[in-house]
Symmetry: C2
């Protein structure tokens, strides 16, 4: 059965003339035992909520996963798909892509991400299990490589898995001593056993080509009281006559001669993509092993008093009370305008919605008080009590983001997590995967400009808004006041297929909107927030804390009988997605200026001329924030004369 994986993998890579045969061949034996005798799954119901999760963290070995999905009978992965490995529009992409086919639990390839997603999934299971012990009770399995363990993110995830004592997490480490540059001894000589022990994991070491040893280890893992690492000593490309155990088998086709020789050595007469009927039958039988159990579970679930609530969460349906709560927050500001930091206004929202949304799982990378991410009713999740909804991630931004991806992919959760906007750089690879996988993870990123003041340039985001806006399928929100904060939370929670960033201030901001606008104006991306939409001499576009500044500029210009209209642009992407007529009506035809305490990069899109942008082209500095706004020319006194000069020039 394992050789079926070997030949499918070698032949598909050969046909594509591109790919990674070594890993699937090396781990074929381990994967066979796992999928034949242990993994709880049903290819006929790939979304069965109580299935075991299987994560191929070493995503370059995608043919291992595709082979298994085909062999066990997942409908999405046909022989035709295997033949089209790595071709345009194939479900069998170079690396496993979430959404391409059922059975692919997450997108992997960037190393360290899969194992960290898996920690999130195992945590999700424990949280669900705490609430619904008779419905949710399963394992999360991972195949990880040397590369996964070398990446720093894996340490963050491993450390948290041990901290939480995730006894349902089983990592199969493909310890083949080969990386791309050659022997792992070149750069990776950690004592892996001791490293995992330091994080309170259980560790077993086995011969990854000995079926009995594999089965024994997996049996023992079923009873583990902690996360467990099964270190599988393997030979990369096991089965290949001359290339087994060499780095040349990692990322290139084996070549026709090597494969022909392998067919001979392994007594494999079948043509490429042709699996002998008896072997395929064995595999299909393995795929049906849990069908009855799955059907039983479904019957139990359908009778279960909580089935409706669980379905609601799995389907991302919001309780109607959430909308009302958000509306009441907005109305409270209409009655009584406030001048507060948008991070605090964000906490206001959380205080109202957290009790209404059990699916909401908050957290922060050790900045809970600064990010204002914890609502009072939220309870902290720890190894002794998973019945909570707030996570202390520690100073581990990257791990936090990848774990949030895992929580979101698992289903039934709406994770959000906080850090400073500057540290979006630390979690960027995982945030990009949220966007690529269409996971509506919410990133609460506070201290969003030089407005944080004294902490200085290492803590002041400059290019980060631009760098985030450039990521496809990500909504970057920078709300201006309490009403926009509430609207943006509403949008983030209502978006099923896109992650959101909420960029929030440390410092107080002025309330801009004073009347109830009935509809969610932030959802338009940008709108006329102050002044006349029709009659205008110029247009000021601003976001977040600078909308208040733009209004002050407009007020000052009004004293000189110059009519300035202020556009608040909380989300450039949503604005770009509006109909052209709307965009034109908002932007107007008068000269336009942008004000944002950040890199000017990208603002030409809306204002045309580079010298119409009031931004910060350099790094920040350490000082009280008012001094910094002055230093960087972002005050009424410095902006008004420049605008007047530009307008005169245009006249």
């Amino acid at each position: 059965m394992a050789n079926a994986i070997r030949f499918l993998s070698a032949d598909a890579v050969e046909k594509a003339k591109s790919g990674h045969p070594g890993m699937p061949m090396g781990m074929a034996d381990v994967a066979t035992v796992l999928f034949r005798d242990f993994l709880k799954y049903d290819p006929a119901a790939p979304h069965w909520p109580n299935r075991d999760r299987f994560i191929l963290s070493a995503g370059h070995g995608s043919m291992l996963l595709y082979s298994l999905l085909y062999l066990t009978g997942y409908k999405d992965i046909t022989l035709e798909e295997l033949r089209h490995f790595r071709q345009l529009d194939a479900k069998t992409a170079g690396h496993p892509e979430y959404g391409h086919a059922a059975g692919i639990e997450t997108t992997t390839g960037p190393l360290g991400q899969g194992i960290s997603n898996a920690v999130g999934m195992a945590l999700a299971e424990q949280i669900f299990h705490a609430e619904f012990p008779d419905l949710v009770d399963h394992k999360t399995y991972v195949i990880a490589s040397d590369g996964d363990l070398m990446e720093g993110i894996s340490q963050e995830a491993i450390s948290l898995a041990g901290h939480w004592g995730l006894k349902n997490l089983i990592v199969l480490y493909d310890d083949n001593s080969i990386s791309i540059d050659g022997d792992t001894n070149l750069a990776f000589t950690d004592d892996t056993q001791r490293r995992f022990e330091a994080c309170y994991w259980e560790i077993l070491t086995i011969d990854g080509h000995n079926f009995e040893a594999i089965a024994n280890a997996l049996s023992r893992a079923q009873q583990a009281q902690r996360p467990i690492l099964i270190r599988c000593k393997t030979r990369i490309a096991e089965g290949a006559p001359t290339k087994a155990g060499t780095s040349s088998s990692h990322g290139s086709p084996l070549g026709p001669h090597e494969i022909a020789q392998m067919r001979q050595n392994l007594d494999w007469d079948a043509q490429p993509f042709d699996i002998p009927a008896d072997i395929l039958a064995e595999w299909r039988e393995a795929g049906e092993r849990h069908r009855a159990k799955r059907q039983e579970w479904e019957a139990h679930f359908n009778r279960h008093p909580d089935s409706k609530e669980i379905s609601r969460r799995l389907n991302h349906e919001r309780q109607p009370s959430v909308k009302d709560a958000l509306k009441s927050v907005i109305l409270s500001y209409i009655d009584m305008p406030v001048e507060r930091a948008t991070r605090q206004l964000s906490q206001e929202v959380l205080e109202r919605i957290a009790p209404l949304m059990p699916e909401l799982i908050g957290g922060s990378a050790d900045l809970t008080g600064s990010n204002n991410t914890k609502a009072k009713p939220q309870r902290i999740i720890n190894r002794d009590n998973f019945a909570g909804n707030y996570i202390h991630y520690g100073v581990r931004e990257h791990g936090m983001a990848a774990i949030m991806n895992g929580l979101s992919l698992y289903g039934g959760f709406r994770p959000y997590g906080g850090t400073f906007l500057i540290f979006s750089d630390y979690l960027r690879p995982a945030l990009r995967l949220s966007a690529l996988m269409h996971q509506p993870v919410i990133y609460v990123l506070t201290h969003d400009s030089i407005g944080l003041g004294e902490d200085g340039p290492t803590h002041q985001p400059i290019e980060h808004l631009a760098a985030l806006r450039a990521i496809p399928n990500l909504n970057v929100f920078r709300p201006a006041d309490g009403i926009e904060v509430t609207e943006c939370w509403d949008l983030a929670l209502n978006t099923p297929d896109r992650p959101s960033v909420l960029a929030l201030t440390r410092q107080n901001v002025r309330q801009i909107r004073l009347k109830d606008s009935q509809k969610n104006l932030s959802g338009l991306g940008g709108y006329v927030a102050w002044g006349d939409a029709e009659q205008r001499d110029l247009t000021l576009i601003a976001t977040g804390s600078e909308v208040g500044l733009a209004v002050e500029v407009a007020e000052t210009l009004a004293e000189q009988s110059i009519k300035a209209t202020v556009i608040s642009m909380p989300c450039t992407r949503l604005f770009d997605e509006q109909p052209k007529d709307y965009r034109k009506s908002v932007l107007g035809s008068a000269p336009r200026f942008a004000i944002e305490a950040a890199s000017p990069y990208g603002w030409e899109r809306y204002v045309g001329e580079s010298d119409h942008i009031f931004g910060i082209p350099s790094f920040g500095a350490s000082a009280p924030y008012q001094d910094l706004y002055d230093k960087f020319g972002l005050t009424v006194e410095k902006i008004v004369p420049k605008i007047l000069k530009q307008i005169q020039k245009n006249d």
Copy 2:
């Protein structure tokens, strides 16, 4: 003496009404023993090459460093500077900023960076020591916090330090059990001893308030045969009567009442910023302890046969033969145009210059063969032989970048390191610090677009060029052919104060420039690469692999008697820095179009209209690269009709 640090720190934070008093107070005793009895330094010659390096990785405790620099007599940090802690234009920024004052060896604050820089510095010392054992022989000391150790990057650096056996690296871990969210038990329960043992470090655990224990540990560390972690059990804000040991002392002023009480308890009568004369004298004496030794070293150095070569390296002076070598590479392409991948053309450059530049230290994050970063004569650095110039970093992009910062800050080295452009996200926080610290680190980022083909969207950079271009003080080069590759390397190597990214293709590109242009045209950022600069109907701007495509588009338009001029724009920042007249002459007044196989974000700056940009607004896909260029509309067949339509619209 330690209390002098405590009061300076508490009083400065109090005066600034902002800052972190807890850490300087908690580590005051350890730092006192280090600076008084062990650290080899001379405030009168802060750049002495053979000084010990001291890195405050926990940069939020900046007042610890500033106090020490003032007390030991560094000229840059005066009492006046301490009084202006965290104020505009002060050298005493919120976090230590490299370049603000001698004695600040690196910019810290983003956690995990300092300890990783220190690994680079300790490695630098070992490399220099291998070449000049009688001139370079010293330690690198680090103070690190819980937060440093939680960040994944620290694992990458710790692992490499152990792998290399850096016996000159001494990390003082401030183990105070407090993080911002509260007790470290909330999220950080690793067995730190075992974790470091797993990476082959020596570990000592001491009471960080016991002077004898501190001295004993540091004595022992002098003889260590491996990197050593001294785990200092401390109380945060030690000395504060009620706030010691609490997270409230981490990041906020203690308050006047607490400080008054502390003065009483510690018998400290002196006013804020007033250090009793006898104590200051003791500190100044400590600062003079190595003066004679430093002077001896200088005398020895001046007589040394290699002093000229070492000075050349320290001053970043290139040997003239490098220029000639680069010129000869360019001329070789004039004689015989080539069609190759720019990553291969980059290796050509390395093959020529590596033997001429002993200061050049190459490496890759386990993609040596793919990044083409290793020239044949380069020798691999390992624990048994530091006399090399190529580093296998393993799959540790972030650690690589921070270690390169350390190598660069150390002096005498020009580090470059390779990974895929997509993984610039993994190393972004450290790259940003290269730019902030003006370190000319070179990032060789290959596989720079969908042109990498089958590996798919997880490996295809889309937004990365924009995200990198938005970083201040970073040159992002995307050369189009062998000549531009050579020119960009020349620029990167000749830029003393700015890091460079070289974005290079996996796939072959057509050679654009066929004549010797005498001067380095890439240094202009953008220039007319094809067609007439004066007479033109439209202008096509492209970078890297798309310059060839733009030329094909122009050739096709020429068949219809439409004159298109092609601008190659290898570096937008350098172009933006050209005089306005030059920019105008290059861009021309005809309609402009941009072609780049990447996010369109930011191109409006040069072409005005969004629909004049041929880019990729979504994620990539897995397929042979020619299929992808077609899918995303980046072919002559798809671009030409759209341009014709746009021009007709404009007419």
